[in-house]
């Protein structure tokens, strides 16, 4: 009896601790399941990137190139943060030159970016 009396408080606190810990653990587990874990690229084991036959369907030329209104003559239109990131990735011009101001600026559409990415990937893998 004495042993039980000694154990009860610790049992109670253990239960309390369990009750307190279970909801956060359940939430964490739920979030993990919902967000999913990142998967390893596995399709490349089945189809070699250099041999993949890809069809890219666009509705118009704008799927590949489009006139970017943000690139007004003399200014890039991008924020400083975006310009800095763009320069790092080599995606955007630093600033349009005076000679180019008369022409509309064409930016790369998603279709073109996809085509380039496939070309790059196919050659490197």
């Amino acid at each position: 009896m004495g042993l039980l009396e000694q154990m009860l408080p610790s049992l109670g606190s253990g239960l309390l601790l369990g009750v307190l810990l279970v909801p956060p653990a359940a939430i964490l587990l739920g979030l993990t399941v919902l967000t999913g874990r990142r998967k390893r690229p596995s399709r490349v084991d089945t189809i070699r990137p250099s041999e993949e036959r890809v069809l890219i369907l666009g509705a118009s030329g704008a799927s590949f190139f489009f006139a970017d209104e943000r690139l007004e003559p003399g200014r890039t239109g991008y924020s400083r943060r975006v310009r800095a990131r763009g320069r790092r990735e080599g995606a955007y011009p630093r600033r349009r030159r005076a000679a180019d101001k008369s022409r509309p600026v064409l930016a790369d559409g998603i279709g073109k970016e996809l085509a380039l990415a496939y070309a790059r990937r196919g050659a490197s893998m």
């Binding site: 089945t46 993949e52 890809v54 030329g61 995606a91 073109k112 380039l116 070309a119 196919g122 050659a123």
Partner: protein, 383 residues
């Protein structure tokens, strides 16, 4: 008397989970891609850039490794990398059959089909009926003010032409929903003549009929000639979340979303082995808004503030390719079911918004709708 033969699931024998030796490897090692759109000059420019890039990458790869891999060697000796570019309308049946024939002749099959097409409509539903949209009093307690505003703005019943316009739209959506259970030809007969306005017809045709026609044209080819075929539809979060001033766009993309979900399941039951991926993207920094079918009349387009979650096209392309590459190894080559994969771009906030929107109770839905209200209020008031 015997009843109809029950459908036998997964009748198609699956291939082994190994790299299938391609009999025409030398030809295929030239990174085959086919680009389809309506403007030949732009496609040729992309094709030329792809070829240059591929050549440079192959040379760089050969230089770095110190030895020339067999596939790289084939790429180098085969001359310029071959990127097909076909200028056709992808909502036209004859044109798409031509594309299929060209692809079959060139490569004997396909592994991936990307549908990267969308046409936006930015008018409010009231504007579609021909009634002027009414900027209401922003004070929720000012009911009398709202009533006065309505009277002052002439929020009268729409004229006959306006109602017919909406009816055309309704027939279109009805026809599309009806057609999901009918054949392609029947659907084309129902949906296309019922659309009166060319601009709206283009929107629906591109957003819904284009993907539908693509599936009808290329699914058998994909299934028969690829070890792990994939169809990727670049869709939008507007297909599954409410977006004011995008009613027509949202409806057509929603129809496309429903079609893809049903088709993915049906294809799996039939054992076609094709994996479907739906990219649900938010704002992407392209000219979609300025190219809207009613851009000249939709004054509010430029009033919309840029989304803080906007993505660049290159980031979207990288995510798409990552999604394709991360297909389960078993996809198409085992008895495990193939599920439609949905990729949210960016995952935060749209994936969570979708989850919130469908939670039981009003809290989540209210939060999502408040976000949409805030985002589109300026465009709505400007129209």
């Amino acid at each position: 008397m015997q009843g109809p033969k029950p459908l036998q699931p997964r009748t198609r024998p699956r291939a082994r989970a190994t790299v299938r030796p391609n009999p025409d490897r030398a030809r295929l090692s030239r990174r085959p891609s086919c680009l389809v759109a309506r403007t030949q000059s732009k496609l040729e420019a992309v094709a030329a850039e792809c070829n240059q890039l591929a050549q440079a990458a192959a040379l760089s790869s050969a230089g770095q490794s110190g030895k020339v891999d067999r596939s790289v060697n084939a790429a180098l000796t085969a001359g310029p990398a071959k990127v097909l570019s076909l200028a056709v309308d992808f909502t036209d049946v004859e044109s798409m059959l031509g594309v299929r024939q060209a692809v079959e002749d060139a490569w004997g099959g396909l592994d991936s089909v990307h549908i990267v097409a969308g046409v936006l409509s930015t008018r409010t539903f009231a504007a579609l009926t021909g009634s002027p949209p009414t900027p209401l009093s922003t004070n929720p307690a000012d009911a009398a003010g709202r009533l006065n505003d309505r009277a002052r703005a002439g929020f009268a019943p729409a004229e006959k032409a306006g109602i017919e316009s909406v009816l055309d739209l309704a027939r279109c959506v009805e026809g599309l929903c009806y057609a999901r259970e009918r054949s392609l030809s029947r659907m084309l007969l129902i949906a296309l003549p019922s659309l009166a306005r060319p601009a709206h017809r283009r929107s629906i045709a591109t957003n819904y009929l284009g993907p539908l026609l693509s599936y009808a044209t290329f699914l058998p080819l994909l299934s028969a000639h690829s070890v792990q075929p994939t169809v990727i539809l670049l869709s939008t979060v507007a297909a599954v979340l409410p977006t004011p001033t995008r009613t027509l766009y949202s409806a057509s993309k929603g129809a496309s979303h429903a079609l893809l979900a049903s088709l993915a399941l049906e294809s799996d039951l039939l054992g076609l082995g094709v994996e479907f991926i739906e990219i649900l993207a938010g704002s992407v920094n392209t000219s979609l808004r300025t190219r809207a079918v009613d851009a000249s009349t939709a004054k509010g387009v430029n009033a919309e503030p840029p989304s803080k979650y906007s993505l660049e096209p290159a980031a979207v392309a990288a995510s798409v390719i990552e999604a394709v590459d991360c297909a389960p190894a078993s996809a198409g080559i085992s008895e495990e079911p193939l599920r439609l994969r949905q990729i949210w771009l960016p995952a935060r906030p749209y994936r969570w918004a979708h989850l919130l929107y469908w939670l039981p109770g009003d809290f989540g839905r209210r939060k999502v709708e408040d976000g949409a209200r805030d985002k589109y209020r300026a465009a709505l008031m400007a129209q």
